[in-house]
């Protein structure tokens, strides 16, 4: 991207107020935001992200986890891991956050029309996939099978538990959840998420697979999907890298010949498979 092509306000955060704060797990929380500058809502496509700014602390890229059909509620699900996200974790209703975006590529929802839609999430990777699931539910009649596979560390770390149960209760959606480590009382599946793929029941020829989670998990999932006959150009992954500017200027998130912030975060497996697992990339 040429420097001249970047709009002057593309790096300027807008003030947004927290209107709702939900603690999801011991280290993960969801916030709903509304513009506090009198401007309109941020419309987005499933898979895109915003740069969120904790005033005086710093800025982080966070995927949008809300419903793309309801842009007036800007929803982000955040894991508190560093100073910025920990500062946001300590906030509450009424507090202000700077927002700029949306940025990045989106899940290829139009490609999914007329096909099976397979969503594979690992850990907090369910958050960037939730808009795609909302899209899938809203366009259910235009899809073949809608399958959601979710793997998480323990039952205690499970994200959006109530929603998963609601989706599982639908006859037109197949939801399978697995944990790497069971806890007493857990009656569900135990094992890594890749073990759910052979039992998922999708058509490998007419499926679009969206995968998001830790990179090693995505790598193994993509490999397993290919082993089951899914073409690499029908598998999409959302990559995560340290980002600074979010618009392809600073080069912080360079990923081989691409920048994750503007060429990604969503890439086809066909495009990035040579880069996956490469050391020091």
């Amino acid at each position: 991207m040429a420097l001249a092509a970047v709009a002057p306000d593309v790096l300027l955060p807008r003030p947004f107020a927290i209107t709702r704060y939900v603690r999801d797990t011991h280290d993960t929380f969801t916030i709903e935001l509304e513009p506090a500058d009198g401007g309109g809502p941020i419309t987005f496509e499933p898979g895109q992200f915003n740069m969120l700014y904790a005033m005086g602390v710093g800025e982080v890229p966070i995927s949008i986890s809300g419903d793309p059909a309801k842009p007036e509620k800007l929803v982000h699900t955040i894991r508190a891991v560093g100073p910025v996200t920990k500062a946001m974790q300590a906030m509450g209703k009424g507090d202000m956050i700077g927002v700029r975006g949306p940025y990045g590529s989106a899940w290829p929802m139009e490609t999914a029309r007329g096909n099976d839609l397979l969503v594979i999430a690992g850990g907090i990777g369910l958050a960037p996939l939730r808009p795609a699931i909302y899209w899938g539910l809203a366009h259910r009649q235009e899809l073949g099978r809608l399958v959601i596979l979710y793997g998480t560390r323990t039952p205690h770390d499970m994200l959006f538990r109530k929603e998963l149960e609601k989706w599982r209760g639908r006859l037109d959606v197949s939801v399978r959840v697995t944990v790497d480590r069971a806890e007493p009382g857990w009656k569900g599946n135990v094992g890594v998420v890749t073990t759910l793929i052979p039992r998922a029941g999708f058509d490998p020829v007419d499926v679009v697979a969206l995968v998001c989670g830790p990179e090693v998990m995505m790598r193994f999932c993509a490999r397993e999907l290919v082993n089951h006959g899914v073409s690499p150009d029908r598998i999409f992954l959302s990559q995560e890298r340290n980002m600074k500017c979010g618009v392809g200027l600073c080069g912080r998130c360079q990923y081989g010949p691409t920048f994750v912030c503007k060429d990604g975060p969503v890439f086809s497996y066909e495009r990035v498979s040579p880069l996956l697992g490469k050391r020091e990339l």
Binding site: V190, G213, V216
Partner: protein, 153 residues
């Protein structure tokens, strides 16, 4: 009509096996069902069978004196339960407990080992297929050990 032969022939594990070998397998197979909570096998017991799970879920567990039984993996429809029957000393490595009603095809170990000894072509095919199961379990275990969802600031 649902026959053991058809079930075995169509199961992904036995896909493309020669018809005469399917016939040999049918001679060692039987339909079984287990109730919720029932143990299909116990760690240390002699592995006299293996199972093709047709319906239901099975938890592979290891019992610990301080934390009670720990589930290490769940198996479900289409999965193979048990490779211990094939490799000496033919003892189960885990407990297998039914999480709900389980329907399966059981294959008798002595019967099948004898047939594999008599027909090495069959034996090699079975070994290759179980080798794949063992590798899949090993890879899944390694991924579990990586603890990929652990938070790293």
């Amino acid at each position: 009509m649902e026959t053991l032969e058809r079930i075995l022939r169509e199961h992904k594990f036995f896909r493309d096996l020669e018809p005469q070998h399917i016939e040999l397998l049918v001679g060692c197979a039987s339909n079984v069902r287990f109730s919720e909570g029932e143990f299909i096998c116990r760690e240390g017991d002699e592995a006299t069978q293996f199972f093709l799970i047709r319906a239901g879920s099975v938890a592979l567990e290891i019992n610990t004196h301080d934390r009670g039984p720990l589930v290490v993996q769940t198996l479900g429809e289409g999965d193979i339960l048990g490779w211990s029957w094939l490799i000496w000393p033919y003892k189960w490595h885990f407990d297998a407990r039914c999480l709900d009603l389980v329907r399966a095809i059981a294959l008798d170990a002595t019967c099948l080992r004898t047939k594999c000894e008599a027909d090495h072509h069959l034996g090699y095919e079975i070994l290759k297929r179980f080798g794949h199961v063992v590798v899949e379990r090993l890879e899944a275990t390694r991924l579990q050990l990586l603890d990929v969802y652990r938070v790293t600031p």
